[in-house]
Symmetry: C2
Subunit: 322 residues, 2 copies
């Protein structure tokens, strides 16, 4: 949520000279994205996002993200494209960082989604899953089920219990339970796995853009819906479930793409996994980020509350109302 690497107008102009996209008119560092430096860059012909990749994104993964977005764009999905320079290169070096010029998509990210917006997101996610059916590349999920226990083992017990007494043992038990109960054999596909409201751009109630694919990978498509469900169907503290939003999100998805009976049955388990994944990364960041650092720490307990919700629902509670 900050600009880490400064890019001058002169540097941006020099970069743009490699492209056929017009001359620089405006350049603003924006507070957006995972942990990259992002600039809103305007030329006399169009607007772009200039992204400099900081530590969190492995440059070796960039071709996967590029190819996935190119595939989705060709299929008509509302995703931003990486722009090629005159020599067909989409990957550049800017101030010692890997950098890309990316299509700008207008639209606003909502903070309190309505049912209509959730339905539109469900449809968009399903359309994305349809569009990647013939996307051949695979990439293991670095934050998938097998990563959770090792990540948890790097979290300090005292610090975890300082956040909430008993949290450490509760999460340890959940890691074990999910290891035992994680489903097998569900349909795999390219998934977003981070489709929070701030990664969806709306124009009115229509989805105008799906962005920030830097956690994209191959995993269960129903896990992607479970992440989206956990991200959209609660207040941000996670202590209020919004059943109308849940029903609309699932109905939107199912109106485009049917889930198998196995996927529906496994959904509460997948949603527990989705909650644990964000609980764990937030917990790790909470413990390892100084309170006054540049990055805003997010509350891990907001996903512990979601986890508790999903422990107490069964598939019929979520799919029965659709």
């Amino acid at each position: 949520m900050a600009v880490y690497t400064q890019v001058s107008a002169e540097t941006a102009s020099k970069l743009l000279a490699r492209y056929d996209v017009g001359a620089l008119v405006s350049l603003k560092g924006i507070a957006e994205g995972v942990e990259n430096s992002n600039y809103l860059l305007e030329t006399d012909r169009a607007r772009f996002i200039l992204t400099l990749y900081e530590n969190r994104v492995d440059p070796a993964d960039l071709p996967y993200f590029h190819n996935l977005l190119a595939h989705l764009h060709r299929a008509g999905s509302p995703v931003p494209r990486f722009i090629d320079d005159r020599n067909g290169h989409w990957l550049q070096d800017v101030n010692g960082k890997k950098a890309c010029l990316i299509e700008f998509l207008p639209g606003i990210s909502v903070s309190e989604p309505t049912a209509a917006q959730a339905e539109a997101v469900g449809k968009s996610l399903a359309r994305m899953h349809v569009a990647v059916a013939d996307f051949a590349e695979a990439k293991p999920n670095p934050l998938g089920q097998s990563s959770w226990k090792p990540l948890f083992e790097r979290c300090d017990a005292t610090a975890a219990d300082g956040l909430q007494p008993g949290l450490y043992n509760d999460v340890a038990g959940e890691c074990d339970w999910l290891e035992t109960n994680w489903p097998e054999g569900l349909p795999l596909t390219a998934v977003h796995t981070d489709l929070f409201p701030d990664n969806v751009l709306f124009r009115g109630d229509d989805v105008g853009g799906l962005i920030d694919f830097y956690f994209a990978c191959t995993d269960f498509r129903a896990f992607d819906l479970a992440v989206t469900h956990a991200a959209w169907c609660f207040n941000s503290d996670g202590d209020e479930f919004h059943p109308d939003v849940s029903t609309a999100l699932i109905a939107g998805y199912l109106s485009v793409l049917k889930l198998t009976a196995e996927e529906k049955r496994a959904f509460p388990v997948l949603a527990r996994g989705a909650s644990l994944r964000f609980l764990l990364t937030r917990l790790y960041d909470w413990i390892n980020t100084p309170a006054d650092a540049l990055v805003t720490r997010k509350d891990p307990l907001a996903f512990h509350r979601r986890l508790q919700f999903y422990r107490n629902v069964d598939s019929a509670d979520l799919f029965g109302t659709v």
Copy 2:
């Protein structure tokens, strides 16, 4: 250089409903400005800057800034206007902060100004001084000459000397010297006093915008030129003077507005004052800002080097070449 107060799309939409400027299309927090939170806000009709005033700007000063910019805009200066809502109000409350919707001006800020750009800035500054000749409001300069000694007395001697041995005594001597030698009776006017390259928006070599008037006040007009000179005519470290940029800046100014013989004579003293002003605020921030805080600390010594430069020039060195 960061967003301190989060504004959701819902909050921005609610705010826009008070205005006749169209509906929200895009909202991006931008890393810009003194220490306010700034958003680039786009509607279906135009683009704006939404500014939330954080601690550094005193809300009691906002009417002065508003009136000054309105005056300049009417006079044809390229400055952003505060936008009125349907009831004629330009000052709002957003998330507990005073906030204004401000006209967006395109253009880029240069990091390494050319002589042509400096000449254009000199002209723009002089035109601004001409345009405020009939601006009636006065506001003392809170960072003017009389503020420097009290500000310096709040800086720790050991910390200052830790930055550079002998700095504390050198700056103490400069405060005393400027108190004795500060000119009197020079022409006063409304001045910007912070016209660094990042506060000027260029379209090519033309000045398309002068922004960030939150240090504007009443002071010597030649002091405003001295600040601009110190800001534009050196590399950022302050150890390289660019004589061609200096000549162009001063020539640009004088082509629009003549300075008196007293103003020219006093210029090196004013420029020492301008250097001390930024040296002191940077020194104070350096000593009192944790190294890992949200705000980037700027090097005070960059302005100590400028100060040393101005101690060794006389008026003819700067004006003789024009």
